[in-house]
Amino acid sequence: MSSSPDRRDFLVHTAGGLAASLFTPSLALARPTIRAGAPLKLGVVGVGRHGRAILGELATIPECAVTAVCDTDDSRLQSALRRAQGAKGFASIAELLDKAPDVEALVIATPTHQHREVALAALAAGKHLYLETPLAHTIEDLQALSEAARRSTRTVAAAFHGRANPVYSLARSFFRAGALRELATLRAQNHKKTSWRTAGSTPEREREANWQLDPAVSLGLIGELGAQQFDVFHWFLSKHPVSARARGDLRLHKDGREVPDTVACELTFEDGLVLDWSGTLANSYEGRFELFQGAMAAIKLAWTHGWMFKEGDAPTAGWEVYANRQQFHNDSGITLIADATKLAAQGKLQDGVGLPYTSLYYSLADFVKCATEKAAPACSLSDAARTSAVAILAHQALRTRSEVAIDPKLLEAL
């Protein structure tokens, strides 16, 4: 094509009904536009490895300022304070709420089993809340959190990142428009070779830091890794599974732990559709992805990128002529690019552009925007509670080595 406007016109006017509807959604490739004003004063509670990653992302969002950091471990707290210049440090949520009343919003990244206590205190104090996922390790805690969130007039968001990710939003618009037709299989994995241990300067600190390996409180790989991906399927399908089965084993890290390092989980939906999920800490091949396979196409999502693989007999839309493609062994995938029309207008559709920000950034920026503008977040606590409940019950299936029913009424009440 000789000029960008011509190409854009071509995309708008010649794409078929499906393609036209796919490119129509208003998808923001750029960061969310947040209303100007005084920066939102934020506190971050729990500054282990993930909490520090959150601090790094928050520092690049000018519409917020981290003014308080909280952790029960002083070495973690001091390390976080070096990253959050100007913030005050606190050893407990009670101390933070008492001594830093000007903090407007809290990001909770404590261990999962401590979410309930911290989040309820934050909501009772009238703070906006961003809660890490899974939300809790028991159904009782989920019910308490849901009830408190319903009573709150503040923004209460949860950290299932797919819902704020522009590539996932674009893929969902394809999916909801029926591009895959009859669904056949759903598959996802999170594979990474790692011990999943946290080192501590002393054996005592190390025990406390490795709560994920404590079977009394940990939801294991299914909860801590799988839930993030289960939520993508729940969001795309607008439904939840009705039963769960799982099996797990220690394949590599035979260091005295009980929590399996390799897990396979099967979530069955009411119509018989099955989501197969696997997680392992023994091998990194293909990393983390979600895969939807239908009669006309498959969609593969991998957080910063997404692809569509079309069947030979699938209808071809005009825009596909210009789409970027990637080869995966025998299959050619069309790269799903948010803001495709805009990029086409700039002549960049074939460049294979990935996300300009991290998935975590989009999720946090959405929270800051919604807390500032008093809007509904991309992932509500209610949505996250339902997915967390599925993870808790799937983990129960792993521990009992039996099929566990997932009661729709239980999820509905959350």
């Binding site: 790094g56 969002i61 990253r83 210049q85 080192a199």
Partner: protein
């Protein structure tokens, strides 16, 4: 208990060898260190569209871009190094480096780019059109320092870390030894081995990656003042307490040499510009080690850095 771990980041292989109280502790501490390196890669890679540096390069000409504290401090240090080296070290050479990597280096004309920092807003803004930042080797040095900090936080006191073998950082010394033995290839025999203890070493050379333009062989180090690629003739090693600072000075030293200056006259006293070597036989420089980094048993044989 010794543990060895490695990861691929910043286009090279990072490795570490560490001593810890038991195998589980060693593994967990080493993984925390590698995660820091991977996090640095995610922040500063010019090859990832979602990295913070890519965001800066896309947007900083149009408006201020907010930075995390680690990146801001690194850019502040880069400006200090730029001043101290009389502009021989400058990260605003990203556009020229892109040209070099693509094999299409346009004629050098003027200084590559410019940026300024706003400490109050902790942000960066480009002050010249066409500016693009490329942290290059200094990112490797910074990543090693972050990784060493993660090891110290985890209670590890003895470790050797390297990135692509050209940047090496020692935490303490191996049990029963005065330092981690590191061998400098192609340097004079009496300076061919050093023992590192709580020190870092950076080795730079212009011949690591080269580009042929007509009859001329050009190295991958550019003079930021002119944008010109240097001829592949020089190498140098810098020892000092900071891997980050060593990287800046070992790169700058090559540029200063090409300008006919002695980098030892500019370098701060706490740095040891241990060896510089300009081979008279150009074929030797071209055939200098460019083999992929290999695993080393730093406890039994010295690490042999490959100049960048």
């Amino acid at each position: 208990m010794h543990e060895r771990l490695a990861t691929a980041a910043m286009g090279t292989r990072f490795e570490l060898v560490l001593e810890a109280r038991d195998a589980a502790h060693a593994r967990a501490a080493g993984e925390a260190a590698l995660e820091e390196i991977e996090r640095c890669d995610a922040r500063w890679s010019v090859f990832r569209s979602d990295s913070l540096l890519s965001r800066v390069n896309r947007e900083a000409l149009a408006h201020d871009v907010a930075l995390d504290s680690v990146t801001f401090e690194l850019l502040e240090a880069c400006l200090r190094f730029q001043q101290a080296t009389q502009g021989a070290f400058d990260i605003a050479v990203g556009a020229r480096m892109r040209e070099f990597r693509s094999g299409a280096l346009s004629p050098a004309t003027e200084r590559c780019g410019a940026f300024e920092l706003d400490a109050a807003r902790r942000s960066v803004r480009f002050t010249r059109a066409g500016t693009s930042l490329d942290l290059g080797a200094i990112a490797k040095g910074e990543a090693l320092e972050r990784a060493a900090e993660a090891l110290r936080d985890a209670g590890v006191e003895r470790a050797l870390l390297h990135g692509g073998t050209s940047s090496v950082l020692a935490l303490g010394a191996p049990s029963g030894a005065s330092g981690w033995r590191v061998q400098l290839a192609d340097f004079d025999a009496d300076r061919a081995e050093v023992a590192l203890c709580d020190r870092a070493l950076s080795v730079s050379a212009t011949h690591g990656r080269t580009l042929r333009v007509g009859e001329r062989e050009l190295g991958h180090v550019l003079d930021p003042h002119s944008g010109a690629a240097l001829a592949p003739q020089a190498r140098c090693a810098v020892l000092g307490p900071s891997a980050r600072e060593n990287e800046a000075w070992s790169t700058a030293a090559l540029v200063l040499l090409a300008r006919g200056l002695d980098p030892r006259e500019l370098a701060p006293a706490h740095l040891e510009v241990r060896a510089m070597h300009a081979p008279t036989d150009p074929t030797r420089a071209h055939s200098a080690p460019t083999v992929p980094p290999r695993a080393h048993d730093a406890l039994r044989e010295p690490l042999c850095p490959t100049p960048r």
